[in-house]
Amino acid sequence: MILCEQCPNNPDCQNCLEALRVGNSARKVIPPRSVRITLLGTGQTCQVQLVTVSRTAIGLYSPNLPLHDRLEVELADDFRIIGTGLKGIEGDPYFVMDIDKVLRRQEVLDRLLLEEFHTWLMSKELDLSNILLDWKERDDQMSRLIKQELQKLSILRQVETIFLYHYEWGNLRPLGSNRAEPDIEREMKRLIHPTSLTGASLREQLVSANGEKVFELYASPLPDQTCGVALIDVTSVIMEERKRKRREWEMYRDLLGVVTRNKLLLLNDEELFVLLREGRKLLSQNLREPEDLASLRKAFRKALEPMNLPDKRLLQYLVAVNEAASNMIKHGNGGSILLYAATDWSKCRAVIHDDGQGIVLEDLPRATLLQGYSTQHSLGVGFHVMLQYCDRLYLGSSHAGTKLILECDATA
């Protein structure tokens, strides 16, 4: 195959590789492989020789048809790439095609397949002659890989848009016509730059300037200090997840309300805020170790004197508060307990802030339905005691953790 005057007599010749303008990542296909191309503008087809490959461009030897148009190259029956042909070497029928898209079975799975193309290209088995001659076998393997990858990436079906880029020396080049808003691209560049230098992969979440869109950014460094970049619009996925959580929360709220005859009430952030604003604070007690529990009970007894609770009732409430406090200490972090009372002393509330490990929504039905030590492995017996000895138990979960509120009426 004579591409120019120096080939193949000069194996060191780099002219055809340099024409791809992709740096060191390009390789010669030896021997060249015959592939079918279609000029997308005219529909004309022709057999040409694939002579050079790189991640982003390929070189084609086409003595019979100039390739100055959008074209599709058929690498296998169902594995094609699309791009734009340009003159490669002046005076020779050598053309360079910048890859825009990789297609399989007419589907454009940009990210997946382009990555796969890159993987193929960069794989250790990159003895091009073998790879290209054993294409059928390779193709079957790729089919399997694609299926596996697609299963892993089923989340992508819910994704509105995927933007693909190639980052090289400060330039973010979109692959294909899809691109994100300029403000997002600026932020991407800022984040990707260190990645391209350190070679560590990057996963970040980006929010659009107006706060309406959320993106996941993935950047994978490539061996030549450039980066493959995928930006996925996950706005709808996040909305869906929020809705799902909300539905789950409402289900638990209703279930627990029925089971406990409205003794255990789940509160949303707003309800929790309103509840905490009522009444006045009687005391705030820090808890670090089991020895603090006795002084907590003593302080509660004293603070609640004006409520005139019967002895037994007060003891039961203290047992309940004590259980909540013990749980908090058990989980290792300690914390503080606040006590509020209504201005007319008609009720009081102990507020316990849990860092989130102590109370798991999924455990609550079991803990409320099963008595005693049978619940040892979830919330322990403590939760059952709290429910028995309080008039109401409020549970508010927010990003900051969980708040448990134990309420006691003066006239219960």
Binding site: L315, I329, K330, V385
Partner: protein, 104 residues
């Protein structure tokens, strides 16, 4: 929490005084273990116990279970009404199937 103990003819009585909470839970269990190992019967006297919670009697619960499995006898006696109520709510009595005597 304080305690005292008597032992005669393979029967021990443990008298607990004060509050049985998380701070003393392990100690309560260890005491029952100690006296249970060298006696056939252990009476745990709750006359002067003024407070219990799940952590305070958790160890007592599990030690009692072990002793019962070894064929020993454990009973809890002289329990104040309000403390008995807590033990019921904790499921202590039902789960162990032991005799719990009210205070006179």
């Amino acid at each position: 929490m304080d305690y005292r103990a008597t032992e005669t003819n393979g029967q021990a009585t443990l008298f607990f005084t004060g509050e049985l909470d998380m701070a003393v839970g392990d100690q309560v269990g260890q005491l029952l273990q100690k006296y249970g190992e060298r006696n056939q019967t252990v009476r745990v006297d709750f006359q002067d116990v003024s407070f219990v919670d799940s952590s305070g009697i958790g160890s007592l619960f599990f030690t009692t279970k072990e002793l019962l499995a070894l064929g020993k006898e454990v009973e809890i006696v002289n329990v104040r009404e309000e403390i008995l109520d807590i033990l019921h709510v904790l499921g202590f009595t039902q789960a162990l199937g032991i005799s719990i005597g009210k205070a006179e």
